[in-house]
Symmetry: C3
Subunit: 211 residues, 3 copies
Amino acid sequence: MEIKFISLLWLIGIIAEAMTGALSAGKRQMDLFGVVIIGCATAIGGGTLRDMLLGHYPIIWIENPHYLLAIAFASLLTVVIAPVMRYLSKLFLTIDALGLAVFSIVGAQKTLMLGFGPVVAIVMGLVTGVFGGVIRDILCNQVPLVFKKELYAVVALSTASLYVTMKFFGVPEWINLAASLSFGFGFRMVALHYRWSIPQFNYQQEDQHSH
Amino acid sequence: MEIKFISLLWLIGIIAEAMTGALSAGKRQMDLFGVVIIGCATAIGGGTLRDMLLGHYPIIWIENPHYLLAIAFASLLTVVIAPVMRYLSKLFLTIDALGLAVFSIVGAQKTLMLGFGPVVAIVMGLVTGVFGGVIRDILCNQVPLVFKKELYAVVALSTASLYVTMKFFGVPEWINLAASLSFGFGFRMVALHYRWSIPQFNYQQEDQHSH
Amino acid sequence: MEIKFISLLWLIGIIAEAMTGALSAGKRQMDLFGVVIIGCATAIGGGTLRDMLLGHYPIIWIENPHYLLAIAFASLLTVVIAPVMRYLSKLFLTIDALGLAVFSIVGAQKTLMLGFGPVVAIVMGLVTGVFGGVIRDILCNQVPLVFKKELYAVVALSTASLYVTMKFFGVPEWINLAASLSFGFGFRMVALHYRWSIPQFNYQQEDQHSH
């Protein structure tokens, strides 16, 4: 049952990510193909990178191309309903926060299931939660937002850590999922509300040989 | 026989892609090493990404490094004959159109041979046809052209779809290859001539929290 | 014994690369998360890409996540000692030169051990030596430095070639390692001192259809 619930949340998460990706493409005036690719990269780029790093094949959307079609559809739908989207930005931030928590937990969970240790699971929770957005920003030719602003990666990291830790201590799966999810979602919403961020590193110097 | 013919076209395609990649590097004033890397990435980046997504190893240029040497040579040759290249741009657009059709078909064909289904095959035809250029543009630090302009991805997608559909209906391979190739090449040339494109999505908004 | 020595140099190399990566992140005013990611990508991006291209799993830092923790720590330490870093730039260039030679040799060595041929080994030496910096620059949204300036890739390529050639002629491993390492390190230091570079390719033209 908890598997189905988390799967449903994951599906909502990838759809929401696809739609935010489509908006990013729109900010760069991409054509509809670009919109679909950016939507797909945002929604499933993190999980894809995780599976490629772990050498775990087949990748989920290759095994179930229906996800890809759903994401493509959601991306195109975003273009149609774009005029309404600006009134929904709060809703999207909320769904995005939920997606972040779900992705981080699912990423860690899958990694543990494949037999990897806790540190790798936490790192892969982070990769799953955050790197869809990193790939989106690279494809849109900008410095990944998540490297510069807001408490996004920290939420992914701490949510994945909490899940892995509770798993380690034998907390029943459904309690663990509920607690990690609440924590990750709540943490992100509070961080957004208070505009929390972590310190920046500002290092300016005349450019030298610096590979 | 048809295998040999398509292999020859594929070889012509990767050489042409390497040369267009080398020109892109020249526009960014890269050094000769950059020229070779961008040439290689443009020529075989799409196929490499496809194989990495499918988990299909060894990747073709690792199994046959001769391809890599040929691509490196073609990239460097481009530097030498650059003064002539500007008079050959129509020729290159033609070879590039041929390459696009061949890559899309070969990408779909290989994916089917590995036992994947039709949707995955079409997506991989698209990846093979288009992502060499995407990787080239990322390495040159610009928004991938294919996300913004022209009927390039649509040609890849429809060519791969045609090939997979005819395969599904049992059309003999050589007829399928000839028809898909003619369709893809013709479609791209006509699209170029009439400057066809697909609609753009323009979404401007003050930047908010938007991961 | 020589294995331990090269492992020690490799460890010094990844720590030094992590620190130069952290400084790059600081030039882009990234936050501490960005600093750690750029540090990791610079230090182990090249080896990770090599393993993904070869289909060789598990990737080293997934098998030994301690490396990842050490790199993350070195990246954060860089932020703390940043005021001192500008007086250490010569030291860093020296360690970086050592790292370049070690990465190129280790990359070629591992590829040969996996049973691949000499051309692939040399290419993978290059990838291991150079692509950490390429990934760093892509994540920082700039044209990879190594495509534009300095004798960096040439050092990686020639060092890997020398190692593979001596291996082919049956030179004992420890002599080979010592000679390749001295050559690569010396070549890089001399190239830095005399500001050697390879020719650039400058190709300017009004933008046309150029995929």
